[in-house]
Amino acid sequence: MNERNDDWIDRQLREDANRPLEDAGFSAAVMSRLPARTSPYPWLRASLVLGSTALGGLLAAFLAPVGPLVVDGFRELFNFRGFTPGMSAMIAMTVVLAVSGYVLATED
């Protein structure tokens, strides 16, 4: 390549590339469009919420004066013998946790 062949094309392209464009409100327009930034660790918040919910549920089941209903629910869940009130409570809690997890995982 020499000046008479390609160099003047190179130079013209580089000059065009280096010509600055006025901002003219562009940066402000970008800043107005920025969404709230998502956490780089979205699983952390989901884990904390789900973990504390599960822990709270278990503590409530064993410490609160609710009788043997929830404890029985655990046992009946593993020895399925038809739906019982305890098992229904356990399934309901599982569904609530699953839905919470889904919402947290897909939340922008």
């Binding site: 392209l13 065009d16 590339a17 464009l21 940066s27 327009a29 970008v30 800043m31 930034r37």
Partner: protein
């Protein structure tokens, strides 16, 4: 409060990631907007409104994904990759972009140049660039306007290295022919 202009890109990026610092990100936008918009103007054959829309989309995507920036490449190179993807995605919505194809697409109507000494030669160049095929224009935009190496351009555009080099050679030959003819006409 605006940041001191001496902060490097890396320092600004850390501030955005660690403190969610919007002033730092605004400084990054101000610093890189000119080149990103210029690259996109060339890619869109001079369609300034579309180019600015895509440039805004590029910076919004950069904001969303800044935590994934690994400092393995220049920040500008990372931005250009996002810009090329935004352009290709938009172009696919409009029609199929054939980066390997050799066809000459109809040129977008170039806006009138701003007054200046080299305005005429600039508008000639813009018109000549707009007559290149998508692949040739993308390769020229990547290597000259985004200042990427041939290897970086191949990666950013998703093309084989040999294809990028071929596009560059053909594009320059076409530009030379068109601009030489234009010079001889005047």
């Amino acid at each position: 409060m605006p940041l001191a202009p001496v902060a490097s890109d890396a320092e600004l990026i850390f501030k955005v990631i660690e403190r969610d610092d919007r002033y730092a990100f605004e400084e990054l936008v101000r610093r890189h907007q000119s080149q990103v918009r210029t690259v996109l103007r060339r890619l869109t054959k001079g369609d300034m409104a579309l180019a600015d829309d895509l440039a805004q989309e590029t910076f919004v995507l950069a904001w969303r994904n800044l935590a994934h920036f690994r400092f393995e490449a220049r920040f500008s190179t990372w931005l250009y990759r996002i810009a090329f993807n935004a352009w290709q995605s938009d172009a696919r919505k409009r029609r199929e972009v054939l980066l390997d194809a050799d066809d000459d697409m109809p040129a977008f109507e170039i806006a009138a140049p701003e007054p200046g000494v080299d305005a005429a030669s600039r508008i000639d160049l813009e018109r000549a660039l707009a007559t290149l095929s998508d692949g040739e224009r993308a390769a020229i935009s990547a290597c000259y306007y985004a200042d990427l190496s041939h290897e970086e351009a191949a990666e950013a555009l998703g093309l084989p290295l040999g294809t990028v080099k071929t596009h560059i050679l053909r594009a320059k030959a076409k530009l030379k022919a068109r601009l030489t003819a234009k010079r001889e006409d005047t």
